[in-house]
């Protein structure tokens, strides 16, 4: 384990932002750190990288404990904050070289690394432009590159894809994927699709507490084997249909106005459901079969969506 979080807690007044959180991150893995807004993700990240002191608990990196005023290994981490944090009056190249040199990387090597990263992130053409003249998307990419220039062992990416255009999202996703095995990446997001595509393991927190931690597949399988089967009926008819299907061996549940079922055998069940709808004169508005996702897991654990 490269990073271990043990019984971490942080409160702001009466609000417990992080509540007895414990988990470990393996070396070289991409670790998805998920949760809705206000779940405590950013607070946890800040404590993990040494920018915020915890009320209780500890964080250790390669066995070294975080301590007041910094952490022995802090120079081995890179942090891409949620908001754009760049030096607007410096060029892309200047600030990358500056950041590299702040980590005691010699100027030549810092420049070389900066050049490589600017190329990868599509900023090579803008390397001598002041950061303030870049578009919002480019500034976001620069924000990520600044966390990488000193070649950290652990990279914290806090909502790295927020505000990125679709093209840049793909670019960032591909880059993060390419880091797998060479760098430990801790990725916070509430974009479940991205998290599923990128993460080796996922940790979902809510209200500062750990809900689940496992591989994406294992977490999704907590909902049962098979695909997700969703039926939308007009008005409140979903409730009526649920009552009609009570005798069925399958476990249906109502999520909002949508009737949901996870099943391996949707093809067999579907005619029975359609028969019940027809016989009772219910009005079918939509019907779909899809793969389960982490959002479904979160809903099943908390009863609400990640974006609520």
């Amino acid at each position: 384990m490269i990073l271990e979080v043990s019984h971490l807690s942080k409160a702001y007044g009466d609000v417990r932002a992080v509540d007895d959180l414990s988990f470990s991150v393996r070396s070289g893995e991409i670790f998805g750190f998920l949760g809705p807004n206000g779940a405590g993700k950013t607070t946890t990240i800040k404590m993990m990288c040494g920018l915020l002191r915890s009320d209780q608990g500890s964080v250790t990196i390669k066995g070294s404990a975080l301590h007041e005023g910094g952490w022995k290994g802090s120079r081995r981490i890179g942090v891409c904050p949620q908001h754009i944090v760049i030096w607007e009056m410096m060029t892309c190249m200047e600030q990358l070289e500056f950041m590299g040199r702040m980590y005691d990387i010699e100027a030549k090597r810092a420049r070389r690394k900066a050049g490589e990263l600017l190329e990868v992130f599509g900023l090579a053409q803008k390397k001598n432009k002041l950061a303030r003249t870049l578009s919002g998307g480019m500034q976001r990419r620069l924000n990520i590159v600044l966390a990488l220039v000193h070649e950290p062992e652990i990279l914290f990416l806090d909502e790295p894809q927020a505000g990125l255009d679709p093209q840049s999202r793909v670019l960032v996703r591909d880059y993060v994927k390419s880091l797998a095995g060479t760098m430990t990446v801790i990725l916070t997001t509430h974009d479940m699709e991205e998290a599923e595509k990128l993460s080796d393991r996922v940790c979902i927190i809510d209200g500062g507490k750990l809900l689940v931690l496992d591989t994406v597949e294992n977490i999704k399988n907590q909902l049962g084997q098979g695909d997700f089967f969703e039926i939308e009926l007009a008005g409140n008819q979903g409730r009526e249909l649920l009552a009609l299907l009570q005798g069925s061996p399958e476990r249906f549940r109502l999520q909002g106005q949508t009737l949901q079922l996870v099943s391996h055998d949707a093809v067999t069940i579907l005619p029975q459901v359609l028969q019940a709808i027809k016989e009772h004169g219910l009005h079918l508005e939509n019907l779909r079969i899809r793969k389960k996702n982490l959002e479904d897991v979160f809903i099943s654990l908390t009863g609400r969506g990640l974006r609520q």
């Binding site: 040494g50 920018l51 002191r53 944090v85 200047e94 500056f98 702040m102 005691d104 000193h150």
Partner: protein, 389 residues
């Protein structure tokens, strides 16, 4: 060395924020040229209003005595060594008109010569009466120019009357200049304060350089790189010292350009200037520690700027309240601001040829205050912005 890396970065940023840099560098020279335009051309001239209602009187020997008119001529004649008249004299339409001009500060002093001025004087000369002629002086004592003009006007009037009446004044006053070789005009006396203004401007650039990192969140990147508070603030201080010294040099050159000449040692002047710059940077650390954004600096931050400007006597002389006495030297409440001591030190060096030995109390006070403010600023800044919360 990371101090140098950060120094280079902040220096480049300052160069690129050229509008702020130009204002900082041009602030002192601008005020030098402004003050020169107002006060620097030659010696000051005082606006005198004289309402002469004297009717004159016929002396026993048949001559006509016009004492009011004669006194008016004496006031008009008094001049500085360069030949410029001390008074610019005008006649108001009436006493109320004259008083209105005083209130508007269009005039410094109003003198009223009554109708019987010559008559009373004649009776005194012919020993018919011991009564002396009356001269009425009106003015605003809050206006320093009124006091100076009154002093000159009185001197001329006493001299004229003593000559006319062949009486000798019972006191002989010998006035000696304390300035070096040259005589000082108003502008010369303003120059030390104007030079300090250039240094005070560093408060804004120094605080802005620091707060910018807090405001934009880039300080967290610096903290993650384990840049220490000492490294961070040292680099900014060195950079601001360069800017402040440049502003001071430009302001001094502007003063020289309009004819100002230093009586004292320039290296000593620049050394004191550099020390003063560091003291202003120390104050800017405290300001930066208490604020969180550039917006706050441009609003709340104006307060300490004006504190330094007004209470250092950069703008106007203030009453002096003694804080404590050390040996033969009084430290005043204003001297809690290091720039107040700087104005005094500059004045002594530039106008009175003082050497380091003459500045022991000023330099001692500046060093002490700089150390105290710097230590407090570093502690406060670290506590508020560079500490793990």
């Amino acid at each position: 060395m990371r101090i140098l890396v950060y120094l280079r970065k902040t220096f480049v940023e300052n160069l690129r924020e050229w509008k702020i840099l130009i204002i900082t560098l041009a602030f002192g020279p601008f005020f030098v040229y402004m003050m020169y335009a107002y006060f620097g051309t030659t010696t000051p001239s005082y606006n005198l209003l004289v309402l002469n209602r004297d009717r004159g009187a016929d002396l026993a020997d048949g001559r006509r005595l016009q004492a009011g008119g004669a006194l008016l001529s004496e006031w008009a004649k008094i001049a500085y060594p360069d030949g410029k008249a001390v008074f610019a004299i005008a006649a108001p339409a009436s006493l109320p008109a004259g008083e209105k001009a005083l209130k508007n500060r269009d005039a410094d002093l109003l003198l009223f010569i009554p109708e019987d001025f010559s008559e009373v004087l004649k009776n005194f000369l012919e020993k018919k009466s011991l009564r002396l002629p009356r001269l009425t002086r009106s003015g605003d004592h809050g206006n320093a120019r009124c006091l100076v003009a009154g002093s000159f006007a009185d001197y001329v009037a006493f001299t004229y009357i003593s000559q006319l009446t062949a009486t000798t004044l019972p006191l002989d006053i010998d006035f000696r200049k304390i300035s070096a070789a040259r005589s000082l005009n108003d502008f010369d006396l303003y120059v030390p304060a104007l030079l300090v203004l250039a240094i005070i401007m560093v408060l804004f650039t120094a605080a802005a350089s620091i707060i910018k990192e807090v405001d934009k969140g880039t300080i967290s990147r610096l903290m993650l790189s384990r840049l220490s508070t000492f490294e961070f603030l040292s680099a900014i201080s060195i950079n601001q010292l360069l800017i402040g010294s440049a502003a001071l040099a430009l302001t001094f050159l502007a003063a020289v350009h309009v004819g100002y000449r230093s009586a004292g040692s320039l290296p000593l002047f620049f050394a004191v200037g550099a020390l003063s710059c560091v003291s202003v940077i120390a104050i800017s650390l405290i300001v930066a520690a208490l604020l969180k954004s550039i917006f706050e600096l441009l609003t709340v931050g104006v307060f300490p700027f004006f504190l330094l400007m007004f209470f250092s006597e950069s703008m106007m002389p203030l009453p002096r309240w003694v804080l404590f006495r050390l040996s033969t030297h009084n430290y005043y409440v204003n001297d809690l601001l290091p720039t107040s001591l700087t104005v005094k030190a500059f004045n002594k060096i530039l106008n009175f040829q003082a050497g380091p030995g003459d500045l022991v109390f000023e330099l001692g006070g500046m060093v002490f205050l700089t150390l105290v403010y710097f230590a407090f600023g570093v502690w406060l800044f670290r506590r508020r912005h560079m500490r793990i919360h």
